[in-house]
């Protein structure tokens, strides 16, 4: 039978029934995501080699352009395209169900791609050197804001399609009882995504009108509140999606089960309820906000969302330990861990992602989100140090880890270069840890982020502002970046090789 006539195929590895029209969308979104990751990675290398004072590669103009493009390309385009692929996977394939109205999925895809290309082109031609935060009254070309809005509208449609697929699966009785924990976690991410995207539109539509000259004034303080009502929960979408993938990887790699479904689900619920509080941690040293607001909001309402993360930090390792002990690795306290599949990229990516996210990303986040400590941290390199442990070592590495299984499954080819894959998470994670220490050290000494040169030798009030010791940290930043980019490149190359040259897996109806 010709492929086109089949609505579903059965995956030989997982046994999932794969809706073929969903499959195409998943592949398109995931491949686009990897393309953006590649672009963002090249930019990362160039800007990092500029911050490494001894190399100081780019001109100021290009450093600022590529920095803005890197932030947007990575934090929004790579991550969101991949998340959309993940949502379709969790909403259709994992439930052995179908994606209703795949045509809408393509519309969403087209809007997102148009928006992403439009805004990135504006940045690269120097018409939107405003960084991804685009704080007003620094002004970009109207097409930049339009691009962002189109992207957000596209993503909104895609998220809607995911909810529709959940309804269809339930109505058509594709599964019994409750949602699998993985899909439940994705649903939490999608719910947070809804108010995130609404926030995005509220921020960027007025900005578009303002840059067109239709609105005369956009209050800079109000803009910051709006922007972070979008920018902050956007990171929590990434968080929830990453944790869902952690659970999935723990099952795929060692057969872990949720230790206590109730507790894990409540933890996701805590994310939904309390995560949007916290947005003020970006505004802790802004004028105009009351101390009580700052404290209540920035504590995620008594740190309840953080308790959610603490629950996952217990449940996932516990699930792995129980599964490993059930296989007979019961000797001593740690045999289960030593005998874990450390050569599986999915497992090493899971562990490195959890460790770097939790100990470096999460801990630094809670520290610098403390009102009084934030005065020492705001806009220094400690900020990117923190979020390269959360969205890069955490989210991005988790996404890479699951890609080694998801992408071959969806393109029906075997992974190429397994041996390279098994070392990739170590290289990427190791490089990022160095990058972190470099950024964190320099930032602790006061070195600002988003700054081409920190010698201030050409200023009206000339430096040196910072001592020579910051150069050691900036060099560490550069070396870590080179290693991490090599790790990222290995991932991209393996994905491309698999897509084009992987051994084909025959299709079964």
């Amino acid at each position: 039978m010709a492929t086109q006539q089949l609505a579903f195929r059965t995956c030989p590895t997982t046994g999932f029934k794969v809706h073929l029209r969903a499959e195409k969308l998943i592949v398109a979104n995931a491949v686009t995501a990897v393309v953006f990751l590649t672009l963002g990675g090249i930019m990362a290398l160039l800007i990092a080699l500029t911050r490494w004072e001894a190399v100081h590669l780019l001109s100021a103009d290009w450093y600022y352009r590529l920095l803005g493009a890197h932030g947007m390309t990575m934090l929004v385009y790579w991550i969101v395209f991949f998340e959309i692929a993940g949502l379709y996977f969790g909403g259709a394939v994992v439930l052995n169900s179908r994606l209703p109205k795949p045509g809408l999925g393509w519309l969403a895809f087209a809007l997102m791609l148009t928006g992403a290309v439009m805004s990135n082109v504006m940045v690269l031609i120097g018409q939107a050197t405003v960084m991804f935060t685009a704080y007003v009254p620094l002004k970009a070309h109207p097409l930049y804001y339009l691009g962002v809005v189109l992207f957000a509208v596209g993503a909104f449609i895609a998220v809607g399609l995911f909810f529709a697929s959940l309804v269809v699966a339930k109505v058509e009785k594709r599964y019994e009882g409750s949602l699998p924990l993985f899909t439940y976690g994705l649903m939490a991410a999608a719910i947070i995504a809804v108010f995130t995207l609404v926030g995005g539109v509220i921020t960027f539509v007025p900005a578009l009108l303002w840059s067109l000259g239709i609105f005369k004034l956009y209050d800079p303080g109000a803009y910051r509140v709006f922007f972070w009502a979008f920018g902050h929960p956007a990171q929590q979408v990434n968080l929830a999606a990453m944790v869902a993938i952690w659970y999935a990887l723990s099952s795929l790699m060692v057969g872990a089960k949720p230790v206590n479904e109730k507790l894990s689900r409540v933890a996701f619920l805590l994310y939904i309820l309390f995560i949007n509080l916290g947005s003020i941690h970006h505004l802790l040293v802004d004028p105009g906000l009351h101390t009580a607001d700052r404290i209540l909001n920035t504590s995620y309402f008594f740190y309840l969302a953080v308790v959610g993360s603490m629950i996952h930090a217990f449940s996932i390792p516990a699930g792995i330990e129980i599964a490993q002990r059930a296989k007979g690795y019961t000797h001593g306290i740690f045999q289960w861990l030593i005998k874990a599949p450390w050569k599986e990229p999915g497992f090493s990516a899971l562990v490195i992602s959890m460790v770097l996210f939790g100990f470096l990303g999460g801990v630094t986040g809670v520290l610098q989100g403390t009102m009084q400590l934030n005065i020492l941290v705001h806009n220094t390199l400690r900020v990117p140090a923190h979020f390269h442990m959360t969205v890069v070592a955490g989210t991005t590495l988790a996404f890479m880890g699951i890609s080694y299984y998801l992408i071959p499954l969806m393109v029906r080819r075997n992974l190429v270069g397994k041996a390279w894959a098994s070392v990739q998470p170590y290289i990427y994670g190791g490089g990022l840890a160095l990058l972190f220490f470099g950024m964190y050290g320099a930032g602790s000494l006061g070195v600002p982020r988003r700054t081409w040169d920190t010698t201030y030798s050409q200023s009206i009030v000339p430096g040196p502002v910072f001592g020579g010791e910051v150069n050691i940290f900036l060099a560490l930043l550069g070396i870590g970046a080179v290693i991490a980019v090599i790790g990222g490149a290995i991932f991209v190359i393996l994905m491309v090789l698999t897509l084009f040259f992987g051994k084909k897996v025959p299709i079964k109806a």
Partner: protein, 176 residues
């Protein structure tokens, strides 16, 4: 059963002992973190300043110019050096790509430093103390500052404010 398949019909089971302990410790710790902010806020003097007023960019520039004319005592590379009366109001204007003017303060005196911008957003970053505040146009942000050491301190800008952002610096000189 796995995280990729639907759970058993009844999945709301009571927590195990270890889970209860972990959860309790986490919640207690969360409350400790939360109270710390309140305690520091109530007991310490290093809180984020909360005095803010609306002001137009032109008005703030006028105030700064008057302030400079009144108290200027010198200049460095064309930037006026200003010695305000001890304990008084001080105006520090951020603009592309300079902190204006250079301030000369007296150790141990408390000043009300008014921060605002003439154009886009900037970041006030006092080095090597490493104290950082966001500076917005249209907002008069008042910081109470009591210099505790003498010497020369740099102010750099740590919010991207345009292609000359990395040139933006200023100075506070503290004397006995």
């Amino acid at each position: 059963m796995s995280t990729l398949t639907p759970p058993e019909r009844v999945w709301w089971k009571p927590l195990g002992k270890e889970e209860k302990i972990w959860l309790t410790v986490s919640i207690i710790w969360a409350l400790v973190l939360f109270s710390m902010m309140i305690v520091w806020s109530a007991a310490a003097k290093q809180d984020t300043p909360t005095e803010t007023y609306k002001i137009s960019t032109t008005e703030f520039q006028q105030l700064t110019n008057t302030f400079v004319q009144k108290y200027q005592v010198g200049q460095v590379n064309g930037v006026p050096v200003v010695r305000p009366p001890a304990g008084g109001d001080v105006y520090l204007l951020a603009r592309q790509f300079q902190w204006y003017p250079i301030l000369e303060l007296k150790k141990g005196q408390t000043y009300r430093i008014h921060l605002s911008s003439a154009d886009v957003q900037h970041g006030f970053s006092l080095q090597p103390m490493n104290m950082n505040f966001q500076v917005l146009p249209d907002y008069d942000y008042v910081i109470r500052l009591t210099p505790a050491q003498t010497g020369e301190f740099y102010i750099v800008c740590n919010e991207f404010c345009g292609l000359g952002h990395h040139l933006m610096s200023g100075k506070i000189i503290v004397k006995e």
